[in-house]
Amino acid sequence: MSLWKRAYLHTVRKKGKTILMFCILLIISTLILTCLSIQAATDTAALNIRKSLMGSFTINAKHIDMQLGDNVVSEILNTNGITPNYNLRSYYHAEYRSLDGQTLKITTDGAVEVPEGYEYAGKIVSNAHSDVDTYFSEAGFELIEGHHITTDDSNVIIISETLASQNGLSIGDHLVLGAIEETDYQVEARIVGIFKAAIPLEPGIAPSYDLYENVSFSDNKTYSQLYYDDGNNHYQYGDFYAADPADLDTIISNVKTISGITWDECIITKNDVDYQNAKTTLEALQNLVTIIILVVIAISVVLLALVLSLWIRNRIHETGVLLAMGFSKRNILMQHIVEILMIAVLTFALSFATSSVIAQSVGDRLLEQATANDQIVVTSLTGQETEKNTVDTSVSLTSIEIAVSLLDLLLIYVIGTGIILLSVLLAAYPIMRMKPKEILIKMS
């Protein structure tokens, strides 16, 4: 009689044992399949997050004489892994004047001081793309009229609602920006936008030129014309975006090989806190799931080995009889394995349904566990300030979509078979290492 037939008869006739083994295997396979599907879901979430978050880096060339130039920027944009999105910006101070040379009124109420020489001056932020400037993206500035500055613009400015009303300015009007201390240097700029600050600055913490009412946004050409007379564009800061934040370090290394700039004097800052935050959560969840899978596998092997060792010990008569008939130990061992596998084939398939039911709720619980102590550190894109905030759920992993896939099911067949093989070998080892005669002596 073949081992398949013997295994089949044992499985069919020993109903109690079969049902017990069915339950054990169903619990084990459901747990492992659930964990596998959660792991697969976190992998997918990680990939999606990486694609959507696009980590960036900022090159601070403020302290270099010629700062960042167009040639270097062009080479950076050609580096592998860099997206076409970028921003070039500079920060400077300029005196607001009318076209006839009269100084304009600025706000001084709430200023901690009005420094000498800055009585009519404000902070100017020059941008390649003003819409991505952190004043607009993070500090609550809102464009209420006109349009944002783009690379197509030159000699344009966006001013505050207050500065406009104080001086009777509106979209399309022109004003003059004058360099501080260098009174001969001045540039005319056309007003293309008016903004308002949704969140007011706390009074008594900033000098007059930093008050939101006195801040303006210009294009980069305006900045270069005001402070350089070589006809080239100069940028203090460059923000560049990586397609995959995981590649950020490699991209930065490659960028540093570009000639035409003294990289040692530049400060390069990675802006991947969103990615790092999501990554931390994902890694915590992935580690948790991996640990759970390993623990479940270890417990499964021990539990199965214990149950099977009891059963195999109780079947010593059968083992002795089969050995006496000339069946090899390997054949008898295979029978034990096939018996469990016959049950496992059904339970593994059924676990697809059971784990589909519980995977989402288990995954949500694990995610809660993994995100329990999350903190986000937000670095301002100005590169000048760093502030710590509590969790910003918009950039954190707050949910994962878990679905049990056929690949997971295939994997459970592989892992489950491994668990069964190991358990049967462990359980049968004490009997199988005995000589046939020793087994027969034990029988009697």
Binding site: M1, R6, L9, H10, R13, K14, H317, E318, G320, V321, L322, L323, A324, M325, G326, F327, S328, K435, P436, K437, L440, M443, S444
Partner: protein, 211 residues
């Protein structure tokens, strides 16, 4: 015809206690051999060595002219010998027919019928058969195999007198009938021993011919 030859077979346990001491004998097909001796004298050990369940410390056992150690003990057990145990040792999740089919591809019922089981009994759970019926199934299982040597260890030890007599007849039949098996029985039963063709006694590790 000599099917089994023992040449200077010795067997010692790990503590060097010698159980069998240079046993040499020859056994033939078509005969029943009864081995007698007090408990612990090594009868079952001798049967285990002949059946390939263990190897002698020294000496050799030849079956059909081949050294069973060289043929492989598992092969020897599969091809040449069939065991009948005192406690029947039927596989409890198989019915009598399936137990017989363990050793044979031939239909099981004719053999079971020959040892006295009905069709209904042949399909019954083996644990629901009487001791005598279980031993008949065990004998049928041994007879169904192609093995030329039947090794029976106290085959009637657990049976009442009438049932034991029936079983003895079956064993004699398997040697003296068409099957012409070599039947080697280890027993304490004088009744069974008297019916054997050759009577051997194992004493102090040596095998003596009594009859």
């Amino acid at each position: 015809m000599g099917i089994l030859k023992l040449k200077g077979v010795q067997y010692s346990y790990d503590n060097n206690k010698k159980v069998l001491n240079s046993i040499s004998t020859q056994m033939e097909k078509g005969k029943v051999y009864a081995i007698l001796g007090p408990s612990g004298c090594g009868k079952t050990t001798l049967l285990s060595l002949i059946g390939g369940l263990d190897e002698p410390t020294s000496g050799e056992i030849l079956c059909k002219g081949e050294n069973i150690s060289k043929v492989g003990l598992a092969n020897h057990r599969k091809r040449n010998v069939a065991f009948i145990f005192q406690s029947y040792n039927l596989i409890d999740y198989m019915n009598p027919s399936e137990n017989v089919k363990l050793t044979s591809k031939l239909p099981a019922f004719p053999i079971l019928e020959k040892v006295g089981l009905t069709k209904e009994e042949a399909r019954r759970n083996v644990l629901k058969l009487s001791g005598g019926q279980q031993q008949r199934v065990a004998i049928a299982r041994a007879l169904a195999s192609d093995a030329d040597i039947l090794l029976a260890d106290e085959p009637t030890g657990n049976l009442d007198e009438d049932t034991a007599e029936g079983i003895t007849e079956l064993l004699l039949e398997s040697a003296h009938g068409a099957a012409q098996k070599c039947v080697i029985i280890v027993t304490h039963s004088n009744e069974l021993a008297k019916k054997a063709d050759v009577l051997l006694r194992l004493k102090k590790g040596a095998l003596q011919l009594l009859q």
